[in-house]
Subunit: 441 residues, 2 copies
Amino acid sequence: MPEPISNPPVRVGLCGLGVVGQGVWQHLDSKAGTLSQRLGGPVVPVRAAVRDPAKPRDIVVPLERLSDDPLALAVDPEIDILCELMGGTGLAREVSLAALGAGKILVTANKALLCEHGAELFLAACRGGGQIFFEASVAGGIPIIKALREGLVANHFPIIEGILNGTCNYILTRMEREGLEYPEVLAEAKRLGYAEADEALDVDGWDSAHKAVILAFLAHGIWVPLPRVRLNGIRRLTQDDIAFAHTFDYRIKLLANIRRDFERGHLAVSVWPTLVPRREVLGNVNEVYNAVAITGDVVGPTVYIGRGAGRDATASAVISDIADAVLWLRGRRGLPLQTPPEAEAACELAPAEAIENCFYLRLTVEDAPGVLAQISSALSAHHVSIASVLQRPGRQAGEACLILTTHRTNQAAMDETLSSLGGLSCVLADPQLMFIGGDLD
Amino acid sequence: MPEPISNPPVRVGLCGLGVVGQGVWQHLDSKAGTLSQRLGGPVVPVRAAVRDPAKPRDIVVPLERLSDDPLALAVDPEIDILCELMGGTGLAREVSLAALGAGKILVTANKALLCEHGAELFLAACRGGGQIFFEASVAGGIPIIKALREGLVANHFPIIEGILNGTCNYILTRMEREGLEYPEVLAEAKRLGYAEADEALDVDGWDSAHKAVILAFLAHGIWVPLPRVRLNGIRRLTQDDIAFAHTFDYRIKLLANIRRDFERGHLAVSVWPTLVPRREVLGNVNEVYNAVAITGDVVGPTVYIGRGAGRDATASAVISDIADAVLWLRGRRGLPLQTPPEAEAACELAPAEAIENCFYLRLTVEDAPGVLAQISSALSAHHVSIASVLQRPGRQAGEACLILTTHRTNQAAMDETLSSLGGLSCVLADPQLMFIGGDLD
């Protein structure tokens, strides 16, 4: 038996020692033996930059290993790998660019940073001879980026769908199981620490959109600008929507959808509440779990499920990046992302006319004769074909709740329909629109 | 923007050009541009060894690229990567050892080969300075080996469970949906090409056991001898079992289970029909799909789903191995498996007394007074505690069908109980035993 490989220690610096940073430091420490054996040499967390070194923490880090200067840490010659775990897109960007400029390997869990400055960062990595690893930026502990980049390297990806935000999935699960309205569940989620004090990033879909942009980049090689992601959150969902979903054997999920039409060269990215059939795997992913369904043209449908956030799940992903970085440092292996991503991008963003879906539309309307006729005329004027209608009494006297589902129709027609409906005096509130998933039509 | 990396072509030889081999050759050809771009240089299938070069095939391979001498191909200096896709464990072993002896990289989808000769092959890889990649050997196109080895590198793995055989899952799904008995569904599966002419490898659980042994090696570093895998297949399941499962909201799955008790240092591997709660993800994986549920001590529960077999799903996995091999060739990166696997193995196989489960037991018994008393005495004599009893008329006059479920009990007690039951004259046929999954007890 040959001798085991033994390499010199690889030195890791952490920018940020919050919940995730502490998890990474602790697991690098507690799994030191296992990791050294699995990677053929030690990996050591040597230093961390924090805002206040004196602040008490859950884990013990000797004071001499702490600094309050992240930019100095980023270029520290005694650091091989820099983990950016600060969050935000200001100082985090500076620190990341500094590290890449110094030829270091950057590991980041920061999806907003990648989404807004990805192109700049990857260029800096190319120029400096470093690398960027970012497994923890999408779907927490699920090794989805590795699956997409490496495990499915033989594939093109016509459809990627994902439940990418654990907070939203938790809220939707509780609304369904407990029959509670959104505000009550949100309050509960905040109490339990499943939602941030400012919940907008999660419930309005921005966090999912950041992750969808990263997945779209990995699959198709272009950075979709955030304003081009069709985006809606879960704030306005009610028990009326939940009840409809239940009756017709769906569950409501905030679903990111990345669709590439290879014939027309179109790419479309959306994050939208979607009726997902319960018999499908994604319809059974509940609570804080995330899931990504990737269809490859060679492999067919695949699904990946796990915890999408939290200290340990995220730390697991960050450490897998550190491990890849260690092997990359040793071998300088040519990772796919070193090829300029533009080379892949033989596609443009799809116009609204080219994006088709079946839709769910809930309207709060005046409870008066002729209202259904007005609504259905508005739909037919834009060639939107109705698949089903359900009307029931509204929440207030004089109101009715009208739920329509459509046959397959394009997004432009639906946009125009919504605009026409908004002009009708019998429509009393903004419509609630959902996509209908599965093979309904 | 720096120049894209451009490396010299990497040359691939295929031993075996059956269904999977043809898929690999074809997709390497049709995706040549994409793969060259993603990997920073071309990957070319240059030669294949087949039994009969003149045989007509679905894909066109020039005759001068075919040979009938796999051993010569294995050591051919014009080949960098050898894909062993012949199957079997005789010639396939010789070819693999020859390639590794010549310092080549071996890519294989052959689970039986790895399971029986894995230790020898990995030693040969270490000695020759080559590598072995085997993503396609477990769960087809699902990149499960990459997830386990790389994506979850920070974890230890207390539980791995998997639906690892598509043929069995197809048969069980059809039995449930159509209410047909096993022999009818098997005949149908053979007609449709979902089952081999000799179905034993699949339905008796051997194929799942091979894959479970490979997963156990990856997770825990030891090769469990096949006779130490607790093994049972699906041949003897009937609509009585399906009906019970349905009534109590379970589905029957042939489940591989790899359990490690880190405190006691025990490892246990089994493949057994199991009642899986329908609310769990694995309970919703049907038809020919495979699924693997990996619980990591850091990441928590994760699940991976996809097609477990078939030309294209398997080719997708083989090509991902070829891609890894290309990057490894360029960087000679030190992959985890180069450390001697024994180093991880601080565990021994668990004795039957240490393996606990809840059990389902279906007995065909004499329909006579006192029978239930005899049966329940046999259980209590071995301290097996009954959780539920269901008795109904049997298939023949004078017979009863008796279904018992137990509280958590150990495998040794259950083995002894089965042996006692076998000695009772009122027990008319071999009992059908299943594990009960989920958190029943």
